[in-house]
Symmetry: D2
Subunit: 378 residues, 4 copies
């Protein structure tokens, strides 16, 4: 029977280039019996010249998904489903249920008066509110009210639950988690709250009121003691001050040639990312702005939170408008453009940049040719 063994050869000095032979084939078989292999057969595969993402550049249009999300309310009960969420499945990442790279994302719906049961896990999560009113999240006893374009954290290990108040309107939000990453690192734990819901022990929105102030920190933590958790104590980041901050920054900065006016959400205690595995940002493309292309390691998932435009990703154009979600895989060229000459456009993004940085794996490159813009591929 002929061997189905692969042999990755390259005719380049310093790379493996060993011909198959009967003798070697026998040798390989012996190694296989010992749970071993010859490196030169796989070296070129496992040491690629540069990253080639398994993820496919993708856009999920809200128009396509919204009805399906809403229908899930009729199809399954919260008790049976746990949460009614439609998750985004990148064609190249079906096996790990990822939207891009090691990032999970889904659209969750909840009706007024509903409340999902409390749990906690090693995965870190965030939510970004897309529509509706009356949404709230409780994290370790801290209740946060949530409006459109607000962004809330439920970090690794915190008890959390979501709901919509009786007097609210049906809510849809985007969930973002590092579930695939934590699974692949074989470090995911899950617990259901013993009472299925937690008490709220603090004033509403206390963490954002205490920690979300410009250039100021509570001299005495409202919780007592110094904040020493690895994630931000400012659990909620509201849209209004975020948009205002972008506008202020636009007054004073030309921004980035690749990203326009862009701000990172941070842990105010350290100045670092909001959670150890997950970064998040909001960027503004000014009227008529067309950024230049670059690429970097790390996987990015965007949601258009205001306006409309398009992005070119690895030479392919993706048009987006409010609430559309699209991804940029690791090391993919990308550039963004605002379609309007009069209105700004805003993109929310979350990513695994903190992982890249913590592990010393961040790398970035500008697209040099063609004035910095990718030629479009038909």
């Amino acid at each position: 029977m002929p061997s189905t063994r692969q042999n990755y050869r390259e005719d380049v000095a310093g790379r493996a280039n060993v011909e198959d032979s009967p003798e070697l084939d026998a040798y390989y078989n012996e190694l296989e019996q010992l749970s071993a292999g010859a490196l030169w057969t796989v070296a070129n595969k496992i040491e690629p010249w540069e990253p080639k993402s398994e993820s496919v550049p993708m856009i999920w249009r809200y128009n396509d998904l919204r009805d399906h999300v809403l229908r899930s309310v009729d199809l399954v009960t919260p008790e049976k489903a746990g949460r009614r969420v439609i998750y985004l499945e990148n064609p190249g990442r079906k096996e790990v249920a990822a939207a891009v790279g090691w990032i999970y994302s889904g659209l969750q719906v909840m009706h007024p008066g509903e409340c999902a049961s409390a749990h906690r896990h090693s995965a870190s999560a965030l939510r970004f509110i897309m529509e509706g009113s009356g949404a709230y999240t409780i994290v370790d006893g801290h209740k946060m009210t949530l409006g459109r374009n607000d962004f809330v954290l439920t970090p690794n290990g915190t008890w959390h639950e979501h709901g919509v108040s009786e007097d609210g309107a049906p809510c849809i939000w985007q969930d973002g988690l590092d579930i695939p990453l934590v699974n692949c690192l074989e470090a995911n734990f899950y617990e259901v709250h013993p009472d299925l819901s937690q008490a709220t022990n603090y004033p509403v929105d206390d963490m954002t009121k205490a920690w979300g102030n410009p250039g100021l920190t509570p001299a005495n933590s409202p919780l007592g003691g110094a904040w020493d958790k690895p994630y931000s104590p400012m659990f909620k980041y509201e849209w209004e001050p975020t948009y205002e901050a972008l506008s202020r920054l636009a007054d004073t900065s030309d921004g980035s040639p690749y990203d326009g006016i862009m701000m990172n959400y941070i842990n105010p205690v350290t100045g670092g990312p909001v959670m150890p595995t997950t970064g998040a940002s909001m960027q503004m493309l000014r009227p008529g702005e067309k950024t230049k292309a670059h690429r970097h390691t790390g996987s990015y998932l965007y949601q258009c939170s205001k306006g409309s435009g398009y992005s070119v990703i690895n030479g392919k154009k993706f048009e987006w408008s409010e609430r559309d979600i699209f991804c940029v895989p690791s090391w993919a060229w990308h550039e963004h453009a605002n379609a309007s000459d009069s209105e700004d456009a805003c993109l929310f993004c979350f990513n695994d940049l903190p992982v890249m940085r913590a592990l010393g794996l961040y790398r970035e490159e500008a697209f040099g040719d063609n004035g910095g813009h990718q030629p479009l591929i038909d």
Copy 2:
């Protein structure tokens, strides 16, 4: 001639307690010739049981000082005086021109259209605006407009200059510097700007617009590259968002028993103090609030920026109202009270707390007796 040499004796086990004798006196004289001494004669002096500050608790009332400050404009020209400043001189710290401990402070006045020449020094400085309009400060080319109760940094090594615009009103502000500390550490350098004034190269208020946003940081520094200076890039901290932050914190926290609702001004890049040697805070005493007494290492200088009340410092009561400045020496008991039952009162404070912390010398103690309140000393 009888020796004038001191001998600090204590009759406590483990402490020095050596009687003078002619033989020892001769021995001490020999040591003196060798630029040496016997430790046991000074050990109890240089190893005190606890700190005993050379500074005297003090209040400087604005009513007393304001006229003198304004008169300086008529008495000296900016060209001759450099800056027209009346500095606060603690009776125990005259030799080093300090208001308390190793902290210098003065009241500076400037008329519309005036501008002081640019310089830089190893001392770190801040200003807190007391009255007037049209004030501005330029730090390394960044111009900041300044209003009442605004607080601005001119850190170690930065070129800086102050002025009041033509259409402004006479301004008085409090200067705060670590000049005595940097002098005592024999590390102070001074330079006059070669042009006596610097160009302003950036949009007005750019540093606060870029860095002074809640839970957000510019993804790309408006200045290019990461901010790696040891001080805050947010040079100006405005009163309005500060007061709002205190109000928000008051909604969610009982505050500190010793300080009420208190926030520290921070370097948003690190979450640490605004400058390596100088901390600053703003605190709110709610209507009727009377804090308990505590003491800690480090020297503190307060300015009442809103309302009125009193502080008890080492058993002595100091009543203050808006613009009054008072000091709390290291390890002095102190407690604060708001005199009003309907209005809040606010205290701005700057201090050398970051020095205490960086050098491992911070210590704090609550006043245990009498319900936490000091008995008054007549």
Copy 3:
């Protein structure tokens, strides 16, 4: 055609438990068209109660592998093979060529006078010398001579090459790399050195001579400037001082109940791990010592560098002697025993513990029953 779609149900409050139905099946098909899915069908799969490693506890015995490693010299040339390495392939991780988790390891052989070409990559590597003499490694121009049980780094992004001097004896060493991790994070880059070999610009062993001193650091970096790379400048860790250190520690400490006398190799500049993604340690089991069982997140690969004994991993006993290599997958129970009552035994280990810690994913648990020892599974 019946759907092959999986549906992961659990009959536990707070977990997904939705029955299939024709209506839902149609709905799922629609979602699939939109590159989306219903979370409740996969939630229980992607949010497991605890980690279940894909890796199998394994031992690779040196007796089994050594001949095959040596034979590779006759079978392939260095020019064709790049490096003659037999890699360890965990039955559960064949697809990513990993020995355990996301860790690659192989046994490399080189004959006197041979030298592999220089390259660099984003993966971080280490070598642990198993036998032979005259081995050396060059890292960014720094040449290091290597003896038995020495451990050397070739960090992320450094040019490196290996060789054996003309007067040496055939060498075998263990390579350890984070290649699978860096690949899975889609961040691996590879370059062949333009000259296929690099100049050695520094005195032999300079980095270890300069940085490998107890409680001492060069006041002036021999390389000029402060060391600011994210990995250790002490490229080589020699066996003799390491064994001596273990002996000294054994004099003063009872060690860990789970690991005996154990020391981590560190970056002397920070006190942290030798490379951002890879930790390494050497531990001594004293004569007769049998540790208790515990488990933790992170994948570990051990090599017995002295003596003999056994480890129990998830209830299965693995006997090891010098040069045997075995793995402990994430969250697997494990305990170690020294088989000798008179000699100590030493285990070298490298792991992805720094990844677990940097991302906030480290968790540890002691085996509580049975006096801390796992019952053996037949």
Copy 4:
């Protein structure tokens, strides 16, 4: 009565230059009544162009001091004196009992069988052993045996006591403390141990055996938990490995043009200084080596621990041989020379460099003229 008030004038643009006048004098008197002053009268004094140390460059020759130190044993009892120490008194720093800047130093003597009582204080201390045998120090229950040129820490807040064993020989060592600094910062606390001596709870020399290993750290602290104190857990730094480290570094580095082959003693947990306020180093001047001159902020106290030579400090030559102690004040030019063409010479040094660095006040300058060597002043 004519005013004794000083007025520091300089005829330089940007500096204060205000003539005295009767009107101003009256104004100054009024300010004085208000505990205030006019900045322009003192500005040039408190904002100097560069530091001008109050300390005088000095040498204390061991030949001169040794007999006096030994005599103290006959003159005072340990019970009465606490410790028998002759301290070094810089002529410019008598008021604060400092050897240089804010650094205290003394020579302590102890006879076999003697033991000083235990105490603790906020000042941080070190000892450097000059002669004798059998010396030991106990720090928080850890006993350390001490030999010639060994260096031991007794950090801020630790209980400590010193003694000489019955079978030892009379010992003299140098004490170094930051007492003047901690006093000037008004943060010094002192406690006598309730039992006047402490139990030794750990194996002798355990902290150095556990933490003093090259590139290795205990995986499990012998004390349990992570080491989180702000000072080094490696309490003792022995001479032999230190000298060996210098020799190894000399093999691989040209060293510093200003300091020859120099190593800093470090906290192995952080790579930083041994204590937050105090740095220490050992440097080797190779046979015939003459360094170039530079100056920097911070105060330095040297002890020749091997060989002989001279230093030129602010143009004055100081010849030293073994056990001599000399100081370099802040911002003083200095260069060192080994007098021997065949033997190396070693200088131990401790300093307040960590204070300068922590507060952002470190500055350094090379002496540019005359080939980098100061002209001698007669």
